[in-house]
């Protein structure tokens, strides 16, 4: 710094001033161009869209998680979604209820995998609308489901257990206590409750109800005496005389009923059930009496897969 202070002052050349003046003249404010109208319109549209999205989000019912909403189509009367009557079509999301009165019917489109018709006097809640889990809860009434998807994507909860879709069409009814009927018209449905499972194929039905969950499935064309004995069997639990009627009245395809009975009767009665099944249709390779009576899961699965060719 000291060396700089000792340097002699030197005048700037004239040329530098003229160039500074020219630069200052060039920097004078220019006349502003008017903003095109389309830009104002675009900005207004963006603001309106943002405001609309914010309003839509705020207007969602409280407690409804964001997610996929399913289409609802009114078929008759005035079904309601989230306590609001729908006219024509509406939408329903997880956590919301759909309800029909005595004159109302509606169809809920279950994502891309099928549809469910809500019969009159029915109350259903949408539990989950995720791609891997489509779940309803049937509080009371009747639904008719048509599902075209790989197994275990569609579920219906009831007070007596859960209907698990295995690629099917079915109707399911239940009262407030969970007592009702599952009737399958295509494919399979698995009805599960606390480790008890009933596999119900097309053409068969199964009573459901607490405290036992799923009953023993039977084919709809089974002898009436067999069906009545099954009702008695459910009430008696231990079976008693009903078991004898079921065994004697069974046809080949009623091995559906007998296969389920095998794991529901007392251990002392299992041999009777096994022997009747073996008399109706040959026991396949890989299935032994000993393992079947022990209720070995692999043995029972192997046998069911073979029996299904007679169902």
């Amino acid at each position: 710094m000291q060396m700089i202070e000792h340097l002699p002052p030197v005048a700037a050349p004239e040329a530098i001033w003229s160039s500074i003046e020219a630069a200052l003249e060039a920097g004078e404010p220019r006349q502003t161009q008017p903003v095109p109208r389309w830009r104002w319109a675009l900005a207004a549209a963006v603001i309106l869209a943002l405001a609309g999205a914010a309003y839509w989000r705020i207007a969602q019912p409280s407690g409804t998680p964001p997610g996929i909403r399913w289409d609802v189509l009114r078929l008759a009367g005035s079904p309601s979604v989230a306590s609001k009557a729908i006219r024509g079509a509406g939408r329903i999301g997880a956590g919301e209820w759909i309800e029909t009165d005595a004159r109302s019917r509606a169809t809920v489109k279950i994502g891309a995998i099928g549809s469910v018709e809500i019969a009159p006097r029915t109350r259903v809640r949408v539990v989950a609308t995720r791609p891997g889990e489509h779940r309803l809860a049937l509080a009371r009434g009747e639904i008719r489901a048509k599902i075209s998807a790989p197994p275990k994507l569609f579920f219906v909860d009831t007070a007596a257990g859960t209907a698990v879709d295995l690629g099917c069409e079915y109707s399911l009814s239940a009262d407030e206590h969970g007592s009702g009927l599952l009737n399958v018209t295509k494919g399979w449905v698995s009805f599960q409750w606390h480790g008890i499972e009933s596999l119900v194929p097309a053409g068969a039905s199964c009573r459901i109800g607490p405290p036992t969950g799923p009953g023993i499935p039977y084919f709809d064309d089974a002898p009436e005496s067999l069906k009545q004995a099954l009702e008695s069997f459910g009430l008696e639990k231990a079976g008693g005389g009903a078991l004898g009627i079921i065994l004697s009245e069974s046809r080949v395809r009623d091995t559906l009923t007998l296969w389920h009975l095998l794991s529901r009767v007392d251990a002392a009665d299992r041999g009777r059930v096994f022997d009747r099944m073996a008399a109706l249709t040959p026991v396949p390779a890989g299935v032994s009496r000993e393992q079947a009576l022990k209720l070995d899961p692999q043995t029972l699965d192997r046998w069911r897969e073979e029996l299904a060719w007679t169902w």
């Binding site: 075209s148 295509k186 007679t310 169902w311």
Partner: protein
């Protein structure tokens, strides 16, 4: 000694043939396939007695009698997830009487079946199975039987 050897070989061959499972079909409801794709099928069937089901050749035609006129419709046979299990989908008209003719070949073995179709679907009890493709005469006999039983109101 040579004769003894030949006799032993012949005995072994006969025993092997006797114990070998015949190449044949078993039919069932769509649920038997244990495959959700079969849900809309008219029925499913499986081959038995074929060591390598993937190499078997399977085809099906719907053979019908509509207002007295014979008709034939090629059918789509879809392989299911389990080897040797197939689904047959209905693409024949609802009008008239129909049977489905199944044909199969596995190496040198052949199999055939005539599956009767009633108003409620396939009729297991009346269906016929052969160790060869069904002949036209057999198909027409089945169609006539189906038509006659319908006229008598015997069909379910």
């Amino acid at each position: 000694m040579l004769r003894l050897g030949i006799a032993a070989c012949a005995a072994c061959t006969i025993a092997a043939l006797a114990f070998a499972e015949e190449f044949t079909f078993t039919i069932g409801s769509p649920v038997a396939a244990q495959d959700f794709r079969a849900k809309a099928a008219a029925f499913v069937f499986r081959t038995q007695g074929c060591a390598d089901p993937a190499k078997s050749q399977i085809s099906a035609t719907a053979e019908g009698l509509v207002k007295g006129v014979r008709r034939s419709v090629a059918l789509r046979v879809e392989a299911m997830s389990k080897p040797g299990v197939y689904a047959v989908y209905q693409n024949w008209p609802a009008e008239g009487h129909w049977v489905v003719s199944l044909k199969g070949a596995c190496n040198d073995a052949n199999a055939g079946a005539i599956i009767l179709i009633g108003p409620k679907g396939f009729v297991r009890e009346s269906s016929r199975f052969f160790p060869r493709p069904a002949t036209n005469v057999e198909i027409e006999t089945s169609l006539k039987a189906l038509s006659q039983s319908d006229n008598k109101g015997e069909r379910k």
